[in-house]
């Protein structure tokens, strides 16, 4: 997460407003869920990007979209576009190198080096500009799909 001091003051104010909203809308849980995960060397890992990436043929993310899109691990990066609504983040590095927002090559390298157990055949993408408390159903659905894929760990990559 960028430092607030490096943002335009009005953008920083917007971020603080979003954080306050998140705090006000926090969910109630009966218990704090915490598990000790499998060792990384045995874990299959999936990426969840908030960059609104999707395949060119998939439905584009619409403003306020709470859905998700699937990104195969072996996707040709040329097939991905981004429907994120914000103009206030840096796209130049993503335009040079997809791994800046979706590190699929880096994950493959960690798996080949034996540092992680494997990489999910499918990754997930959402539109991070949508308020996070609206994602409860999508979160549950992604969790089910991760379970069905045999994924041990999901790594959220916020843009």
């Amino acid at each position: 997460m960028v430092r607030l001091s490096e943002l335009h003051p009005e953008e920083a104010e917007h971020m603080l407003g979003r954080a306050a909203l998140l705090k006000r809308s926090s969910f109630d849980f009966d218990a704090t869920p915490w598990i000790m995960p499998k060792p990384l060397r045995e874990s299959t890992i999936a990426l969840i990007s908030t960059a609104a990436l999707h395949r060119r043929d998939d439905p584009a993310f619409r403003f306020g979209d709470t859905g998700y899109r699937l990104i195969p691990n072996d996707i040709d990066p040329a097939e991905l576009v981004q429907s994120h609504i914000s103009v206030n983040f840096d796209r130049t590095h993503y335009q040079r190198d997809l791994n800046v927002v979706l590190p699929i090559d880096r994950m493959r390298e960690l798996a080949e080096a034996g540092e992680i157990g494997g990489v999910s055949p499918i990754h997930f993408s959402i539109l991070g500009a949508t308020e996070s408390f609206l994602f409860e159903r999508t979160g549950e659905e992604i969790a089910r799909r991760l379970h069905d894929l045999g994924v041990d760990t999901a790594m959220l990559v916020p843009v």
Partner: protein, 242 residues
């Protein structure tokens, strides 16, 4: 991760640094015993280098009176670099609007028509052809993004030169290009429009600090939170409600 917005892995084309960011995050799984926040200790490699970034492609000084020809001239000058970037990277992010790069002529026609007052209800008649992926009015925002993608990918095509920071890129577009003048003219059409709900879209086109007027995200009624306001007008902006 103390990196600029839009760069969660820090920097392009630096696999070693990107792997270190990933490792640092993943290793928390083996050390944390409760929900934990840890700051990543390293700054992104100084991809922006020393000095001030300047576009290596010299564009003619744009004139508002001939905005369309100025934008088309810029695109003619930039297209060889764009195609080079597309070839060397094996990809392009152009296409968010639904247009393909060989339909860029229609993308320009679209943006020019909106800037000259065609309105925000219907796709301009001069822009028929592409399989537009969004409805009006939010389609305008993605048409703009495609033009920006073309410009940005073109001027960063030289992998050996340092890339601009986000602010340098915004500054170049809005202060030195005809595209920037075109975007400001679209923003003015939004500002002058009768429907204040449209005002929010200006903030998706003009970054904070580049609009000489009220805030880039204008139009939030007094006493209403920005998020509540955004939720209330989304159906209008995505074309589901008139």
């Amino acid at each position: 991760m103390p990196f600029p917005l839009g760069r969660p892995l820090g920097v392009a084309d630096d696999p070693a640094f990107q792997r270190d960011v990933l490792r640092s995050a993943l290793k928390l799984l083996e050390s944390a015993t409760e929900p934990t926040i840890v700051d990543y200790p390293n700054e992104a490699p100084d991809a922006n280098g020393e000095g001030v970034w300047a576009c290596a492609i010299e564009l003619p000084t744009p004139e508002m009176s001939e905005l369309e020809s100025a934008v088309r001239s810029e695109i003619d000058l930039l297209m060889p670099r764009y195609q080079e970037a597309r070839r060397s990277r094996g990809r392009s992010t152009f296409g968010m609007s639904g247009a393909t790069i060989d339909q860029v002529d229609k993308v320009v026609s679209f943006a020019i028509a909106v800037a000259e007052g065609s309105g925000f209800e219907d796709v301009p008649s001069a822009a028929s052809g592409p399989n537009w992926r969004h409805a009006m009015p939010i389609l305008v925002r993605f048409v703009v993004e495609d033009l920006r993608a073309l410009y940005q990918e073109a001027v960063t095509s030289d992998a050996s030169s340092r890339p601009p920071s986000q602010r340098e890129m915004h500054t170049w577009i809005f202060q030195e290009t005809a595209l920037g003048q075109l975007l400001k003219q679209i923003a003015q059409q939004i500002t002058d429009h009768d429907d204040p709900r449209l005002r929010l879209m200006r903030g998706f086109i003009i970054p904070e600090g580049f609009w000489d007027g009220d805030r880039a995200f204008g139009g939030v009624p007094a006493g209403m939170s920005p998020d509540d306001y955004v939720r209330s007008i989304r159906p209008y902006l995505i074309g589901e409600q008139s």
